[in-house]
Subunit: 147 residues, 2 copies
């Protein structure tokens, strides 16, 4: 299947300058603040986003230089299949963060709960829509007891 | 910022052959079943995934031929900024679905709650990890009252 080309729509500004020290789970990271600068040519697409309390950011792990199918996650000492983890060393280097939206000013989105580093290319923004009333019946595999 | 190149890691097999008739929200779609065929070279990365009840699929809206910054969503008659919607007509054509994982056999993931069409290229699989105990305090903007 052919290669797909995508273009960043913006860039993250973060208190974390490199991957060392970045919060490894949402509990650690929930208090850190940063911004997403949406490039001016995409700004119009932000209309109505400020009604949402939380947003999903898809981004590019631009510091990843290799990918493995089996990885050792931060939260565990056992080797795991990469698709059962949030490791940056995955095929396609695409990351996902759920963050709190604080405000939008012009083309700048102010967020809380940041776990991306300075300069991270942003690929997409989507509104967060809760899909479950509760966590009942949801199983989280090897993460059970690790988070 | 430079262009990013990504490669599909698999393909969706779906009861929906084209975008017409695809469920437009998760309530409609929760009963439809399909599979994700992970290409053999990525199969090893599926290890441990079967412990999770739900997974996030990132995919490519391969039938999208244009993108707009302002769109009319399916669930509303008002024009909205594309980043406040799940419209396929977005920059980068990247889609996200949360589905129920039923079983994995070899390189085939059996899923329930499919809203992608046959032949959809798959870009990444991530484990679903609930981030909130409840939906209290979560606001969903223009979707309030529409879903």
């Amino acid at each position: 299947m052919e290669e797909i080309r995508i273009k960043p729509i913006g860039v993250v500004h973060s208190p974390f300058k490199d991957p060392v020290g970045v919060p490894k789970d949402s509990t650690d990271g929930m208090n850190y603040r940063g911004t997403v600068e949406i490039f001016p040519e995409y700004k119009e697409g932000l209309k109505d986003l400020d009604g949402f309390s939380h947003i999903i950011i898809l981004f590019y792990f631009h510091k990843s230089e290799y990918s493995h199918l089996i990885v050792k996650p931060f939260l565990d000492d056992t080797l795991r299949g990469v698709f059962s983890t949030r490791s940056p060393h995955r095929p396609n280097y695409i990351g996902l963060s759920l963050v709190e939206l604080q405000k939008i000013e012009d083309n700048i989105i102010y967020i809380k709960g940041i776990d991306m580093i300075e300069g991270t290319p942003v690929l997409d923004i989507k509104p967060y829509i809760p899909e479950f009333e509760s966590n009942e019946g949801i199983r989280i595999g090897w993460l059970e007891g690790n988070i």
